[in-house]
């Protein structure tokens, strides 16, 4: 019911480097403790505490206390969507300027495979998207993607059941510009389902305290057999 914040408040919340780094760290949908976020933000614990209080007050993140830890997470998928759209703009912006001090370097394991909110990103995510398009399982556009008829069958063989209802609750398939690869990977319900299924199959494991995803030995075989991906 409330009239909501002015849009500038939202911008200002994301506009501080420390807070932006914290939000980026939360972007994969996991809950992190205040200490972890202080480290992500590159600030002292006291400063981080102030930042986190503002983010909570602004409704961008929510908090759950558990023992002597406080776990913070993004407050809603809308927040993740907003951050994503801001990343898209940030990546396209300002082609002339010499970079001030952009992301210094991408850790190789992050570049290899990581999560992006609830789906797979990095070389793995982009590779999967490429193969699904090449095999005519999905047709991908600028803002949305569609599952082909044969794609539906393929998915069931892979162990992902067709959605029962809620046909438009959340977009089935959406391209998401990959931050490190600069090419789209799959988001939306399909992206999340693929990520979940790969976890069930034991093909991937999430690393502690990081968005990085580890491909298991059986995953190496699986991605090669099913997707034709050779993950160097």
């Amino acid at each position: 019911m409330s009239a909501g914040l002015p849009i500038s408040e939202i911008g200002a919340l994301v506009g501080d480097p420390g807070r932006a780094n914290m939000l980026s760290a939360l972007f994969d949908g996991r809950a992190l403790t205040a200490s972890e976020l202080a480290w992500s933000g590159g600030v002292a614990a006291s400063t981080a505490s102030e930042h986190l209080a503002k983010l909570v007050a602004g409704g961008l993140i929510s908090v759950a206390k558990q023992g002597r830890h406080r776990y913070f997470r993004l407050a809603s998928p809308e927040i993740a969507r907003m951050l994503e759209s801001m990343m898209v703009v940030a990546n396209n912006a300002d082609p002339a300027e010499p970079r001030r001090r952009a992301t210094p370097r991408i850790a190789p394991n992050l570049r290899r495979a990581r999560t992006c909110y609830d789906h797979l990103a990095g070389q793995l995510g982009v590779g999967i998207a490429d193969r699904l398009v090449a095999q005519d399982i999905v047709v991908l556009g600028d803002e949305a993607g569609e599952l082909t008829q044969s794609g539906l069958a393929w998915l069931e063989r892979f162990g992902i059941a067709a959605e029962p209802s809620g046909r438009t609750r959340r977009l089935l398939c959406r391209p998401c510009l990959d931050w490190s690869e600069r090419r789209p990977h799959l988001a939306g319900r399909l992206g999340a389902a693929l990520c979940r299924r790969c976890g069930e199959l034991g093909w991937i494991e999430r690393e502690r305290d990081s968005r990085a995803v580890l491909v298991t030995p059986s995953g190496l075989r699986g991605f090669a057999e099913v997707f034709g991906l050779s993950l160097a």
Copy 2:
């Protein structure tokens, strides 16, 4: 190719009230002069000039000089998408806090009908969306909408041809949370096409120097006949 700006820079650009107001003024896709934007931002011309320079440097807006005027517009549809997603977050955020000084009051004509980037918003926009859903012309979800079979025929009768190709270049139909009505209206290619067609029919006219849209007398009849809308 460039690594792009850090996301915090983007946030900071939107994070100033003056700049945010200017961007909101540009949100309907039109080009405005520096003076007009100074007024929108509620700052002196000199201050506005500095803000505009920053927005241009950050790639959020582009400029075209024409005589002794300089016309500014949003640099790309991605920017509009980003602003929209930020508005969604702003509207949902912070249900507790007493509003600091939100948008003081919505001008009645803006509330009645206005443009939102390239489609219709306000009571008119929401009303159209309601009717199209009620008449089973579109099915609307949280993130996307679909045109029904009968809807396709209806659209052709209304004078909107089926899209020839580019089936997924831009999302056909997308709900967009209406800022004043707090309910969705239609965006995407369909929203833009409807807005354009209503203009062709002479049902609506854009007001000068404002996002407000005027419903003409023939528009009053048209909206009543075709959509069953009585626009008080």
